[in-house]
């Protein structure tokens, strides 16, 4: 418990440092907000255009798709803002920052996770929250207290699952000899798939990109469950389990990876 407390304090100390580092880009902050708003606007525009021609995709209406989108965007922003370091593992390995981390009396995982902060994440989370708000308003959902709690838990789980995905993909750098690692970009790009209901894809795709890389549990099942669509409850009930498995896998990958790690420069 004491260790946990120390880690939390450290987390904030590191992030405070990161924020100070970022302040030097102050001029770009506004530009970044504009860019994010703009690119998210385009992505949403795509959905709007598709739906302006037809009423539904795979049995889902536009506002329901908005919820899927909101879950994905929120988890993405969450990682960008709170744990952007998950993206930077490869850099850390090759810029020998990891050497410095390893000589400190603190968990390396924490130091890696907090290696960077990205305010774009905050921006994304705000947009996502707005989307979720609108989506909830437009969809007819029978709210109960339990469902409300579920909604928040699902959102949290989506963040954890996605963080673990990126983390594992980034940590593959420990095994790869090359100086760059695009697996994490690949994993995040796959999120594109989860913006639409899983059922529209053929079974092979569903298997690989829904379950093996568990995107189905990030948005499809949770949102389906909230919307009370058929056959979603079982999947949604599994999300905590998937969450745990992913977290355990992420932990293991780091541990194994560090054991393999060899500092490069002489």
């Amino acid at each position: 418990m004491k260790a946990l407390g120390k880690n939390v304090i450290l987390y904030f100390a590191f992030q405070k440092q990161n924020i100070k580092t970022l302040l030097q880009y102050r001029g770009d902050f506004l530009m970044m907000i504009v860019f994010t708003l703009f690119s998210q606007g385009c992505s949403l525009g795509l959905i709007y255009i598709i739906y302006s021609n037809i009423p539904q995709v795979g049995g889902w209406t536009m506002w329901e798709i908005c919820l899927l989108y909101g879950f994905l965007l929120f988890s993405e922003g969450f990682i960008n803002f709170f744990f952007q370091g998950a993206w930077k593992v490869t850099n850390m390995i090759y810029m020998s920052d990891l050497d410095r981390f390893l000589t400190r009396p603190v968990s390396v995982g924490l130091q890696l996770l907090t290696a960077k902060i990205d305010f774009e994440g905050l921006n994304k989370m705000v947009i996502a929250a707005a989307l979720l708000g609108i989506g909830i308003g437009k969809c007819e959902i029978h709210w109960t207290v339990f469902k409300g709690i579920c909604f928040l838990v699902f959102l949290g789980e989506a963040c954890v699952i996605r963080l673990c995905m990126i983390w594992i993909a980034s940590c593959m750098s420990f095994w790869m000899k090359s100086k760059s690692n695009s697996l994490n970009y690949f994993v995040i790009s796959l999120g594109e798939m989860a913006k639409y209901p899983l059922a529209i894809y053929p079974p092979v795709f569903q298997g690989i990109f829904g379950y093996l890389i568990p995107y189905a549990f990030v948005s499809y099942y949770p949102v389906g469950c909230i919307l009370e669509k058929e056959g979603m409850a079982a999947g949604a009930a599994c999300t905590p389990l998937v969450c745990l498995v992913m977290a355990a896998a992420a932990y293991l990958v780091l541990k194994r990876g560090l054991r393999r790690y060899e500092s490069t420069s002489h």
Partner: protein, 283 residues
């Protein structure tokens, strides 16, 4: 404090193979040319690379069992990493405080002022000397029991180097149990600072000696070939051909001074000893 026993690391073309010990209360120097294996050895000590054979023990504990908590007692300066350049000294303090329970904030601030490290300037705008001093200062402010410093004086001018060494001396004076392992390719830094010296060449330790002994007993004999023929070679470590005959490295200067009064004997500097050890031939 630190004991390395038959450490072996094979890189194919380069093999590190050495033993080394740092006694409590001592400053041990590791001296060698560029790419002699100094940094590799330091990385092995810090567990940053895997080792093929041998054991490394720090504070009597095998490196494999070293936990994050044990690292609190270590102060480390590596040559190629430092602080994020966009921060100032003021910014690092809170992080150092939460990282190391033993971090002495007042000492850190005091010393920063004394060595004229600006508190509000970004580290990336520091000069090389200021950066080096800051790295060492951060390492000694944790009240570490063992300091491991890889080339802390690299690229510094004479004055900055002297200030840095002064910092280390004061660190040692505060507590008798403290030890330092320091590497450099500038021998004069280590000559005045260290209690004992290890010389490393192509991954192997070629000489280990107390600094006092090195300075008092080692010497260079300058002899022509006739004198060389009549020389008792029991205490000659290396010889090298010169235009005038031979120069010989001995670790019993007194013996030759007493028995061969006609021979020119020079007090060998550490640099000369190293050069002889590496380039001279064995008898």
């Amino acid at each position: 404090m630190l004991k390395i026993d038959h450490l072996r690391k094979n890189y194919g073309s380069f093999v590190l193979d050495c033993s080394l010990e740092v006694q409590p209360g001592c400053i041990t120097g590791l001296i060698g040319q560029n790419s002699a294996g100094k940094t590799t050895m330091f990385k092995a000590i810090l567990g940053l690379i895997s080792i093929d054979e041998g054991t490394i023990r720090i504070f009597g504990k095998d490196l494999k069992d070293f936990t994050a908590k044990d690292k609190q007692e270590l102060g480390v300066v590596l040559s190629d990493s430092g602080f994020s350049g966009y921060l100032t000294i003021e910014d690092i303090i809170p992080v150092m405080e939460s990282l190391y329970p033993g971090f002495d904030k007042n000492f850190f601030k005091e010393q920063a002022k004394r060595f004229q490290l600006p508190e509000k300037k970004r580290i990336k705008d520091f000069s090389t000397g200021m950066k080096a001093k800051l790295k060492v200062l951060a390492a000694i402010s944790n009240k570490a029991k063992l300091l491991i410093l890889d080339e802390p004086t690299a690229g510094l001018d004479v004055v900055a180097r002297d200030e840095l060494l002064e910092m280390l001396r004061e660190f040692m004076e505060q507590d008798e149990e403290r030890s330092i392992l320091i590497s450099s390719h500038i021998s004069s830094d280590l000559e005045t600072l260290c209690d004992d010296l290890y010389m490393i060449h192509e991954g192997k330790i070629i000489l280990h000696e107390d600094t006092d002994v090195l300075l008092s007993d080692y010497g260079l004999l300058k002899v022509d070939s006739q004198q060389y023929a009549g020389l008792d070679k029991n205490y000659i470590l290396r010889k090298k051909e010169e235009s005038y005959g031979y120069s010989c490295l001995t670790n019993q200067k007194q013996y030759y001074m007493e028995n061969y009064p006609g021979i020119a004997i020079e007090k060998g500097s550490i640099d000369e000893v190293i050069t002889m050890m590496i380039r001279g031939e064995r008898l």
